[in-house]
Amino acid sequence: MEQLRKERVDRSLKVRTEGLYAISSIEEILYLIGPRLLFVAGILLLPLIFEAAPYWKRVVNVMCAYALVAISFDFLSNFVGLVCLGGALFTGVGGYFTAIYNRYFSFPIYLSIPLATLSGALFCTLVLLPALPLRGVYFAIITLMYPLLFSRIIEALNVLGGTNGITGIESFPDPYIEHYAIILPMLFFLFATRRFVNEDIGLVFRGVKDNDQAVRASGINVTLIKVYAVFIASLMGCFSGAYIAHMYMWAGLSLFALDFSVIPIASTVIGGGGTLIGPVIGSFILVPLSEILRAAGTLRIVIYCVVLTLFIILKSEGLMIYLQRKYHQFERWVKV
């Protein structure tokens, strides 16, 4: 009996260039930047597309905010080797900082968000400093505990609005500004981090993940590299938190909620870790999904878990890696 086997063949351009692109025709340019262009254009047009469904317009913003936290998780875990389970630390700190600046110091929104992003990231880096020499699961546990710690402190001391949170934060002046105030930074951070990890300094970060001892033996202070990395990741998370606070005009304990730690990780798993775009795609699937599942009430978590499990079993490499392979290679059946 004749047996058939699937063979994967690289498309010609990929074979010829392997990273160094020698482009000679318009088709090849399109082949390379086409998907990126489509992706960017698609995201930029989202607010217009959802003009038809006003309820969903906010979801676009939330999607992008989660995507940013997911990028920061992917960056830390797959390019620096720090598994950070504390996305909620970043969003909470960013949200509360911007609320303080805006409500207590009356800074306008266009000052309070950048300030909260910077000072919040500094604050997050400082509190994570003692955990940086720890490896693997110990770092993960500490990052998981911080958001809990801060929300309990706020609750127990009844500071910063206590359980009610800080209300009356300035909103965005216009729905379109509200959309693009998250879409543009999200795209910026996405392409900036993608660029960064392939620069020489980015390779040093990736070296820390592969073998931190060898990086030490190369005369590089690994702890310092981790500090930079955590700062970059906190920038993204804190921006996201500050944005959300202004969007809902409220900074509450829910900014420290587990959702902000878990959904970005799930998005990275679904979208494909180590690609940075994967987490964005993952959030674009998971956030609307959990929105739809609101109708299902308590069953929401169950359905959510089933979907996640199926994804992990069926496409454990992540969507993005799967798509990349399909794009760069074609498959054919050959006789064995």
Binding site: E18, D200, I201, L203, V204, R206, G207, K209, D210, N211, Q213, A214, V215, R216, A217, S218, G219, I220, N221, V222
Partner: protein, 255 residues
Amino acid sequence: MSGEAILSVSKLSKSFGGLRALVDVSFEVKRGEIFGIIGPNGSGKTTLINCITGFLKPDGGKVYFKEKDITGLKPHKISQMGIARTFQIMRPYYSLPAYKNLIIPLWSPRAKRLGGWRGGGRHGDRDTVAVDILEEIGFERDSRVPYKLASTLPTGYQKRLELARCIALRPEIIFCDEVFSGLSMSEVAGMIPLIEKMKMEGITLIMVEHRLRELFKVADRVMALNFGEKIAEGDPREVIEDRRVREAYLGREGV
């Protein structure tokens, strides 16, 4: 002798719980020589390297590099001063191509300060310098080997990559932790000219080896450890004739 000693170790000791891995080990290494450290498995050779290069804190004793006390400094501080090391358990940066493995040491302040390899220049493109270094160490430039993922390289190349990573730092001393182990006779024969070339370039080599025959081809002086204690030191031929050295080896597994 002390005037020309580049590295001087005195009464270094280290225990792991009750286990005494190093017991008052003292020795000096002269600039430009190849100094061998031999001893059966578990005799404390790797621990000695770890204590000198800062990866472990010694319990007692002192390490002087060019007459400066470097005992207990952080590993990156020590490698910045010009002491490089390989690891017995090789772990290249698996997710990077071979030549990109060298970007990391080339990025370090020391490599920046001293410029690239072969006058590659302060601002020499790191990728070019990296491939140059790999060529020096035996990666054929025209083959695709320097561009292959480090995880797909055969053992011989991974050992060379480990050395290349040291060389990229432009060190004064390289500690080699069993670079010959796991290699075939012909692969070792290919490594020996490399070792000699590094010596010619003025690098002091301290080679920890389990395989004596190959080490004795290149070493100027050797020291033998057993159960963390120095039992002999001197000319390779004298050391191998030493009664305690023979006992240490023959008593366990033979030379």
